[in-house]
Amino acid sequence: MADTATPAKARVLVVDDSSLVRLYYRTALERAGFEVKQAINGIEAMEKVLSEPYDLVIVDVNMPRMDGFTFLRSLRSGAADVATLPALMISTESGVQDIGEARMFGANFYLVKPVAEAELVRHVCVLTGATL
């Protein structure tokens, strides 16, 4: 749990259908002072971003019912306050065309799984403007 005495650096939504991946990101990010919420697919992610303010969404590609690309497309075509939400896409694919595709759908940054804790935290800091 984040230290409740100091305010969280930023609110991050982790979207991945693997409970282990979500736990891993949450553990690393909470340790670094972020507030972390989770969703299991793009539909739940949409419900969450529409309900509460977030500073960053971390989104997987392969998820049931709504994959990461479809989620991004929905996000970017939605109301202004959510359409500009920074998005870090984390995928198993490492090809140049996959990165290009992610950018086309509106990802601000792209990482390839498996992601090291330090690398994740560094990117989240950059994308939320927080300091390490």
Binding site: S19, A39, I40, N41, I43, E44, M46, E47, L50, S51, R65, M66, T70, S74
Partner: protein
Amino acid sequence: MDDSKGGSSHATHISPEQVQRFCEFVYRRTGMSFTESKRYFIDRRLEDRMAATGSSSFQEYFSLLRTDADHEIEHLINSFTVNETYFYREDHQFRCMTASLLDAIVHQKEPGGTVRIWSIPCSTGEEPYSIALWLMENWSQVDNYNIEIVGSDIDTRALNAASEGVYGDRALMRLSRDVVSRYFRPIAGGYYQIDEGLRNSIEFTRANLIDPQDMKQYRDFDLIFCRNVLIYFDDASRRLAAENLYDCLQPGGYICLGHSESMSRISPLFRVSRFPDAIVYQRPEADHG
């Protein structure tokens, strides 16, 4: 937390790791999540369900749960949620209806046009009657449109009770005394019967959400309340019900689910729509590629 009961034939010590497995399964399947503070509550419910299913270990129970043997998922969810029906249950959605949804719905309609609202399952009628009452009490434009409310259920006994419109204190507990006095009359046994005009204004029908033949007869709804039923269906039935409901809605029409339900566990056919009072789902106006 050690919950072992010395001497009990159901020695139900459930470890934290088992509770984790259980919680992750429930979250994945239903979308319901539990904070640490609910841990004791979960332990008790788990023990109850293990006893009810005659499971001698958590493993045995968990296997049963994963295969949804004997509709265990339904029993489990029921043990976690308050499941009684009463007037104005989850009224934030009715508030959403009059504050947001109806404006969008009638935007496309001529004055005097028809607004079609469906309550399925309607059970013993509290929901469709609540919709009618709420509209009369809260919608300034209620007299400007022709409102059709249909209440459907698979259970004919419930439908008969709905047509009778007789309720006890508990069902009416959320209604003000003023509303009760204006729309209900007291009858024998301390019960109340809802106004005859209201009883006649709701069309009650028998329908099965996963029967395509049944569902074919329902079309052009502007708003559907389908609360606290889809969560119990298996994967294949949820898909089918969602497709059926899609066809029953007007393009742009809305659907409201129950408070513990989410389309994220049901179907990608609908758009998530956020309003001040509720999250609802919308049949898209048009297809996108």
